[in-house]
């Protein structure tokens, strides 16, 4: 891939869901968005503005209705499910609002798991997982399982998991919403510094002004229609 291609490029992206009444409720309508490599962007919006759906579309977890999504020059839209899984594993790090650590695994294994499904490049997975855990300051807690860690520590494990593979682009979904203000700020510091070190672009979805104002570049999403999307979607 040419170095000039942006980390993320979106054109004419549309996504809707079938409404209970039978019609379609549009959730995402994004004519254009470009995020250069190693750049950062905050996406703001009220509940129901389609922020999380946008992340799912970028990550290829959901297929788009229309439009193009390119990650590092690779087209995500139009790919089959397995190909989207592969592209996601290769290029993306995903940080969830609820952390989504696997309860049965230790911190180390959770980070290692993030490396399991990506093609081997550069560092050996174990070494990469070790460095990531060291970077977030949890190497001495590597044998702890998530329930044995504090919420802040769980989020740092999640950050280590998202960044251990040095992804091209990190998607963060409300990364601070489960943390208090001080810890939220620490978490954002860590996330931004780590992204700079791994030279990953960062796209943070948030409705927290304290987070959004940290970013020079901000995008405000609005729900395409006055009525909100079906419940259960951020």
């Amino acid at each position: 891939m040419a170095a000039a291609t942006p980390a993320l490029r979106i054109e004419g992206l549309q996504k809707g869901f079938a409404s209970p009444e039978g019609g379609r409720v549009p959730v995402v309508d994004l004519p254009e968005l470009t995020l250069e490599r190693e750049a950062a962007l905050a996406v703001e919006g009220e509940s129901g503005s389609g922020k999380t759906t946008l992340l799912h579309l970028i990550a290829g977890i959901l297929p788009a209705d229309a439009g193009r999504i390119e990650i590092g020059g690779h087209l995500m839209t139009g790919l089959g499910e397995a190909a989207r899984d592969r592209l996601r594993a290769r290029t993306l790090g995903y940080l969830f609002q609820t952390f989504n650590l696997l309860a049965g695994l230790t911190a180390y294994e959770n980070v290692l798991l993030g490396m399991t499904f990506r093609p081997r490049a550069g560092l050996a997975p174990r070494e990469a997982a070790r460095r990531a855990l060291e970077r977030v300051g949890l190497w001495d807690r590597r044998h702890h399982r998530p329930e044995q860690l504090s919420v802040g520590q769980q989020q740092r494990v999640a950050i280590a998991r998202a960044l251990a593979g040095q992804p091209l682009l990190v998607l963060a979904d409300e990364p601070t919403s489960n943390l208090d203000a001080a810890r939220g700020a620490q978490c954002m510091d860590l996330l931004e510094e780590f992204c700079a070190e791994t030279r990953s672009a960062l796209l943070v979805v948030t409705h927290d002004p304290a987070v959004a104002t940290r970013f020079a570049r901000r995008l405000v999403l609005r729900a395409p229609e006055p009525e909100p999307a079906p419940p259960g979607r951020g």
Binding site: I61, A89, T98, A103, G104, L113, F117, R118
Partner: protein
């Protein structure tokens, strides 16, 4: 943290459920193994014992199976007598290699006392095929000689009899009946053979007829002056032919000549007996398979439930880039591991149980069961591996259909 590690962790996470599922597989396998080994052992021991003689001459009115059971297995009662002359005749028959006389009806502590000749110890063997005379501690009694006896290993274990001990026997097969006045001396003890010989007390057939009680009986029936042998006759004669192939001709001849005895082929009779018993052990085998099927269903239920509870986990795996087939493989591997680990545990349990029970089974039923692991175990594991795919498939297919986006959002 590959597919295997995840499957392994999945089992570890649901330790109780996995343990119970594995246990039910293990019990089914152990039961199947025990039933199959017992059946093979019992069958082999019965047919093995029946190979001792090619033909048996028994009382005309006795049932063929009864004659075989009484003569070769020391079970039941002799259904009449065989004239002594027929024994002499058989001994002189050019086709006959060895003829062994049997006179039964006395007992000691419930163990059958068998009047016979020393030929018995050369013809009959233990389970491994070693002639009984080579399994002897001490000496063989002398034919026509003094009141001496050879006892089986169970007799040694169950009664006060030891090498050199003297004893009297009871008339009849039930304990505490009228005792004969004569005393025998134990001159030989058989090491365990895994055959009915373990339960028997062998005495020279001549001493059987010299017993005062028997002679009085002979006198009442045949009058004074007759040889007790000829009056009392024998219970049966065991025949080993020079060539086994002659046995059918021998049988036909006996039937057509209407002799004062009937000729039965022990192997035919035992086969018939096992056919009857076979139905019963097929039921046991069926139960064992049923237990395995129930265990398999348990795995389907347990894993399917686990999938429902773990949809978020599956969604996370997918979000980390796990391909659908990898998620499928994790679930399938979990089922496979449960089945195979349960299977190995079951085989261990089964073999251990058989090893513990084998001496008792040998004593009580005279059956030597195969205890050690063998090729049959690999076959069982092969069947289980296939069954693991079968039971793992439905929940694995379910894992494929988990809607990733929805369960990523579900609260933690």
């Amino acid at each position: 943290m590959g597919v295997f590690g995840l499957a392994w962790r999945g089992i570890g996470r649901r330790r109780l459920m996995s343990g119970l599922t594995m246990l039910s597989v293990a019990l089914g396998v152990a039961l199947a193994l025990a039933v199959l080994s017992l059946r093979a052992g019992v069958r082999e021991s019965y047919t093995g014992v029946a190979r001792g003689y090619d033909a048996i001459l028994g009382p005309t009115h006795g049932s063929p199976l009864g004659i075989v059971l009484n003569t070769m297995f020391h079970l039941g009662e002799a259904g009449g007598t065989v004239p002594w002359e027929l024994y002499e005749e058989a001994r002189n028959d050019p086709r006959v290699a060895v003829a062994v006389p049997y006179a039964v009806g006395d007992s000691f502590f419930g163990h059958p006392v068998v009047g016979t000749s020393s030929d018995l110890f050369r013809v009959l063997t233990d389970r491994a095929g070693t002639p009984l005379e080579q399994r002897l501690t001490g000496a063989l009694f002398e034919d026509g000689g003094p009141f001496e006896a050879v006892i089986g290993s169970r007799v040694l274990a169950d009664t006060p009899l030891r090498l050199g001990a003297r004893f009297r026997v009871a008339h009849g097969t039930e304990a505490a009946l009228e005792e004969h006045a004569e005393e025998w001396t134990v001159v030989g003890v058989l090491r365990p053979t895994g055959t009915p010989a373990d339960r028997a007390i062998y005495i020279p057939i001549d001493t059987f007829y010299e017993v005062g009680g028997h002679q009085r009986g002979a006198a009442q029936r045949g009058g004074e002056g007759h040889d007790a042998k000829e009056v009392l006759g024998l219970s049966a004669v065991g025949i080993r032919l020079k060539a086994r192939i002659l046995s059918l001709r021998f049988l036909d001849e006996y039937r057509s000549e209407r002799k004062a005895a009937q000729c039965v082929l022990p192997q035919d009779q035992v086969r018939r007996l096992l056919d009857i018993v076979g139905d019963v052990d097929r039921y046991f085998e069926g139960i064992a398979w049923l237990v395995l099927v129930v265990a398999g269903l348990g795995i389907v239920v347990s894993l399917t439930q686990a999938i429902l509870a773990r949809r978020r986990e599956i969604a996370i795996l997918r979000s980390l880039g796990a391909r659908p087939w990898q998620v499928f493989a994790v679930v399938l591997l979990e089922a496979e591991l449960l089945v195979l680990l349960g299977g190995v545990l079951g085989l261990l349990l089964g073999h251990l149980g058989l090893a513990l029970l084998a001496p008792t089974i040998l004593e009580r039923f005279g059956a030597l069961v195969a205890v050690g692991p063998g090729l049959a175990d690999l076959r069982i594991l092969g069947i289980l591996a296939a069954a693991g795919v079968l039971v793992g498939w439905p929940p694995a297919a379910r894992a494929l259909r988990v809607p990733v986006a929805r369960f990523l959002q579900a609260g933690s």
